[in-house]
Symmetry: C2
Subunit: 132 residues, 2 copies
């Protein structure tokens, strides 16, 4: 029922803080202060964002994370995919076994429609749009 997990939420918060400091490199320590997210956990999140290309990391003294080029346009949808995997509101609970309603299931279509709308809206929420 949660659209967004804690990971995603914290990631979003951190990225916003980073984005506000145009180009400046912020360390985990600084970001912990700004976001109140527990250090080691935040660090893991930032590492994932680095791997995903949203942030760029700098090692060594004075190191930290900054926003990668053009990534103010990262969408909430992208973050959800990074932290929560492929977006699907609608997955039949009869996975391997065959669902007794295969073919006739009227629910799928209805939820697909909802899903489509939600995805559209999640793609409209960009970092840039949140900073304004």
């Amino acid at each position: 029922m949660k659209l967004i997990t804690r990971d995603t939420d914290y990631a979003l918060r951190a990225i916003c803080k980073i984005a506000k400091e145009k180009g400046k490199v912020l360390s985990v320590k600084e970001l912990t202060g700004l976001t109140k997210v527990p250090g080691p956990y935040l660090r893991k999140i930032l590492q994932r964002l680095n791997k995903a290309g949203v942030l760029i990391s700098h090692k060594g003294t004075g190191g930290g994370f900054k926003l990668a080029r053009g990534k103010v346009n990262t969408r909430l949808f992208d973050l959800i995919v990074i932290f929560q995997g492929h977006f699907k509101l609608n997955e039949c609970f009869f996975k391997k076994e065959k669902c007794p309603d295969t073919g006739t299931c009227p629910l799928k279509k209805r939820i697909d429609k909802i899903e489509k709308n939600v995805i559209k809206e999640l793609k409209e929420i960009t970092i840039a749009s949140l900073l304004r």
Copy 2:
């Protein structure tokens, strides 16, 4: 990320089967056959639906469950509330502690909007509409 849990899904399936047999009382055993949902688990679900007033149970030999009067108009939204509790896509992860972005959080509004739409659509999905 799941809009619907297994409980809710199974409940919906069972109710649909029951609704198709207008007024007839169906036992857990019969419903297990129809839905392929494990017996004891299904039973627990049906009991909750009875408590919630969606179904009416009959004890003793030949007993089982039937749909309560007017409850073909039960909405998927209602079932979600019964099995998953109060519907909220958007809950700040800083619950007791104060969120560092209180007041300025721009995300809340955006997700509230999504939530509103989703709720509207979930309220349009009724048992009756799924039977057609």
